[in-house]
Amino acid sequence: MGEPIIDVRDLRKTFRVTERQEGLAATLRSFVRRQRRDVNAVAGITFRIEAGEVVGFLGPNGAGKTTTLKVLSGLLYPTAGEAHVLGFVPWRRENAYLQQMTLLMGNRTQLVWDIPAADSFRVLQEIYGVPDESFRRTVGELTELLELQDLVHKPVRNLSLGERMKVEFAAGLIQSPRVAFLDEPTIGLDVSMQSRIRRFVAEYNRRTGATILLTSHYMDDVVALCRRVIVIHHGHLLYDGPLADLAERMAPYKIITATLRDGAAATIDLAAYGTVTGRDEGRVTLKVDRQGAPERAARLVNELGENLADISVEDPPIEEVIDRVFSEERVGTAT
């Protein structure tokens, strides 16, 4: 294993925020004496990411995901700790670093509102010092992957949100970055556009070998793109390992879905096999202990006989696992 592309050690970021109680008296008091409180947005996290990985960075709102991305991209200075990305200390914002990195934030624009994206691309080409030939090739690829043909010549203000996100993606990748931080890249987009952006990110990673750290509240993004996830909550790292192992480690149960033949669901008591969590006509959902799941499933098949039309044993939905992680804050790192 070579040098990691992203190397974060005990990174911390504390914001000092001003607080004020409601009401006139509190407002007047705040003119004289302000109450301040320290908020530990990132409370000491450590992880490494290797070249070419696509890693999902998960956590509820306020977990510290975006703050971490801002520190790693160089936008914010940390309060303590170390980080190296591509061998650079991000917050020094050396040009050599900025030329190889991008931070794309969903719903945030970096394009000039009043001119077509193609003209913004030209400006970015000069700022990043991209040679003409590379620029043409990159724009050509991005145009093809993101289907931008009709979009880049319209003023950005005339584009829909989804169209704008696509040209924002292209603008953020003009310099062919080796590291991309994507913060909620599909937020606010319709299902079809989300899917297109996902395919694009996967294809971009495959073609360029870029390392990608991605935050998203849409688990579909994470499932489609990331084999590895890092979960943080209240600024602490809760889990770092394969997505596939997250459920195994964080949810000690499995879901058995049994589909019963006409009328059987009403007469057979399935509570003996596990905790019934849902009934939808003939489909009954059971939550069972992870270890005992095969044995319970076998019993269901044997004992229900012809009353059973279909049966499946699955991990709980990833959203449920994540929700469980956030609510219980189980700490663990896969090795």
């Binding site: 936008l75 914010l76 991008t102 945030r108 970096q110 700022i127």
Partner: protein, 264 residues
Amino acid sequence: MIDVYRALFVGQIQAASQYRVQSVLWMLFSVIRPVIFLAAWVAVANAQGGRVASYDVRDFAAYYVALSLVSNLATSWNAYDFEFEVRMGRLSPKLLRPLHPIHYAVVENIVWKMTTIIPLLIVLGFVAVTFDARFRATPVHLVLFVPSVILGGSLAFLGGWVIATSAFWTTRVHAVSTLWDRAVFIFAGQIAPLALLPGALQTIALVLPFGYMRGVPAEILQGAVDVPTAMLLIAVQAIWVAIFYALLQVVWRVGVRQYTGVGA
């Protein structure tokens, strides 16, 4: 860097062309105030037998025409734009590019002036003829005006950026920038030519940087100061530009560490 500036200019000219009517209206608005002061001083001078100290009516006309031109060339609205960018998170993408954000503002500033200079000159020509302005400038004055107005513009621009940078700490800088604009209004030669300010106020105006942004280039263009004095004033302008440049380096370096990326 030349290629970068060329690309920024092209982009900014395209953006500015979308709002050319607005630009011209802003320019006209900026001329109204000096013309009002001109009319007021003409009334005062006429009431005093045609003169106020060393200025007669035609000198006032030349001064305020020159001041209007300089005000347009040396104006800077960075603090307001910068506050908006900090508050809305629009600064973040600029901070993450290998180009200091000040360069975008430089280009924006210059392009605005380019798009408004021709209609401005037409309007000022009309004012000059109407009020029978008398310029005493020699060719040497005209040559000295060029560095003087560039230094005045640079000083206003850098001063505006120093003020704007306080947004890193306060997020909102409107009050500070308004105070700065009021100081410009009082001490930069808008109310009266610096030479006509009463004793103490004139001393203060010559010590503070504001007069060197607008009043000094205007007086040089008008030909109100002799050539050696003009050169001395230009030297003082250069010192102020150096001071504000150094100040901006320090304030930026410290301030950018405070940036919290709110709204981004």
